[in-house]
């Protein structure tokens, strides 16, 4: 569905009002196309994790979140912050929305939710993807009124310039505008400069021009960690 520009409405109103007709903002569970039920298994694991743990920080999103947990950088930087990881590879905004609406936020009260999603929303426009992200931000606000949501900018992808890079950059721009008026959320650009002067991305940073190498994660996570610590300190003062 195309979004019509409404001159007097704020961007937030614009994206929220089309929730029903925006597939990126309609909670949708993952479909088990392959036959081994892995998406639902992961979701169930996260729901029961949320019963046992008391995280201060919750990371939620797609494979960029999920893979982060597998590398040393998680143990070095985020375990000490008492962080949980609810990343699922392949997830688009509507899948994350479904998971958070169906138990993954039950029983926990993290101070900060780090949201990193959007790159897998194939077939959706930048406006729709922004709408999906903002729907998640709103859901988190409803379920965890005291939590702060840190939205991470969607990274560039592909070895050379391509339409998905433009789409992702536009998503970040729209989300930045949408959160600018919100006290409980912000967008953090975590791209340390992956795109070189010739327009290329190196496989040393994104091993398949989409997923981060451990080196890529280091470059992303150092500033993220510093920013998170600042947020947590501020939350502690409130």
């Amino acid at each position: 569905m195309l979004m019509h520009h409404i001159a007097n409405a704020s961007l937030t109103d614009k994206v929220m009002s089309s929730e029903d007709s925006n597939p990126a903002a309609t909670p949708t569970p993952g479909v088990d196309t392959q036959g081994d039920g892995r998406w639902m298994s992961l979701h169930n694991h996260f729901v029961s994790n949320s019963k046992d743990k008391e995280p201060d920080v919750l990371f939620v999103g797609d494979s960029l979140v999920q893979l982060l947990y597998q590398f040393e950088v998680w143990r070095d930087l985020f375990s000490p912050l008492h962080a949980l990881n609810f990343g699922v590879g392949g997830d688009a905004t509507q899948h994350v929305l479904w998971r958070l609406s169906n138990g993954e936020l039950g029983h926990i009260s993290p101070k900060v939710v780090v949201l990193w999603v959007g790159t897998n929303n194939h077939g959706h426009t930048a406006e729709q993807i922004c709408g999906g992200i903002m729907a998640i931000v709103q859901l988190i606000k409803d379920k965890l009124p005291k939590a702060y949501t840190l939205v991470l900018g969607v990274l560039p992808r592909g070895k050379m310039p391509n339409p998905l890079r433009e789409r992702n950059a536009q998503v970040n721009k729209l989300v930045q505008e949408a959160v600018s008026s919100l006290p409980h959320a912000s967008l953090l650009n975590v791209d340390p400069g992956f795109v070189h002067s010739d327009g290329s991305i190196s496989h040393q940073d994104l091993y398949d021009y989409l997923h981060l190498t451990p080196q890529g994660y280091q470059a992303v996570c150092q500033p993220l960690h510093a920013h998170l610590k600042g947020l947590l300190e501020k939350q502690a003062e409130n």
């Binding site: 196309t33 392959q34 036959g35 081994d36 039920g37 892995r38 298994s41 992961l42 694991h45 999920q66 947990y69 597998q70 590398f71 040393e72 699922v88 590879g89 194939h122 992808r157 592909g158 070895k159 050379m160 391509n162 339409p163 998905l164 890079r165 496989h203 091993y207 398949d208 021009y209 989409l210 190498t213 451990p214």
Partner: protein, 229 residues
């Protein structure tokens, strides 16, 4: 053994750029370039099971010292690997060992067809690289609980066990022992999404694999090898 013309899993096929950033072709092009620059003693080819291995410490510890190249691409089927091997990824190299790990993504094909596709890959390798020994890794179990894909992968491995020994210079290695627990579940400690291996999961499979690789490499009486761990 399966007739290649009739087996869709043995038909070479490139991956179409549906998403719009052409990443599959970019990775293939990079591998072709690596063939021009490198002189690998060991070549790994396959899907994400191969690709992800290179991102963990274990690659640098155990496999880099063997002068290994990693030509894994996530999502690849036997058809995609066949295409890559026929289109430059074997040019100018003469590895002593080629490790093949692919088949779990062949969702459109039966177990017998998948095994036939893997066989076709082994046949291509032994004909293009006469000096190489081919090691085919068995498909791992997947999914948290028993499911049809586990049965399918077991069946693929079963076909491979009986077909591969008939091909010269080729052997089958099952690295899947221990992943399915007595309650029939797979743990996220081994496979973080019940498909892809964690660092611990790779350490478990690396042991039998490195033992076999060293056995094969030490068996070849030629020139220098890298200092081994």
């Amino acid at each position: 053994m399966s007739g290649d013309e009739m087996n869709p899993a043995a038909v070479a096929q490139a991956v179409e750029d549906i998403q719009g950033d052409d990443r599959w072709m970019s990775q293939h092009t990079r591998f072709v370039q690596e063939c021009k620059d490198a002189e690998p003693e060991v070549l790994f080819i396959g899907d994400s099971m191969v690709q992800l291995m290179q991102q963990y410490e274990i690659w640098r510890e155990l496999f880099s010292p063997l002068h290994a190249l990693n030509f894994g691409i996530g999502g690849d089927t036997t058809c995609n690997v066949l295409w890559r091997l026929q289109n430059g990824e074997l040019d100018n190299i003469g590895p002593k060992v080629t490790v093949v790990w692919v088949g779990t993504n062949n969702h459109e094909h039966s177990a017998e067809q998948v095994a036939g596709g893997i066989l076709a890959i082994a046949q291509l390798l032994t004909s293009r690289l006469p000096k190489t020994k081919v090691v085919v890794l068995g498909l791992l179990a997947r999914g948290e609980w028993p499911n049809p894909l586990r049965e399918k992968n077991v069946a693929v491995n079963s076909f491979l066990r009986s077909w591969l020994p008939r091909l010269g210079h080729t052997q089958f290695l099952d690295v899947g022992a221990g992943f399915v627990h007595s309650d029939e579940t797979i743990s996220t400690r081994d496979m973080f999404d019940f498909l892809h291996l964690t660092a611990a999961g790779y350490r478990a499979i690396a042991k039998p694999l490195i033992d076999l690789l060293l056995q094969i490499l030490e068996g070849t009486p030629e020139e220098k090898r890298a200092s081994l761990v």
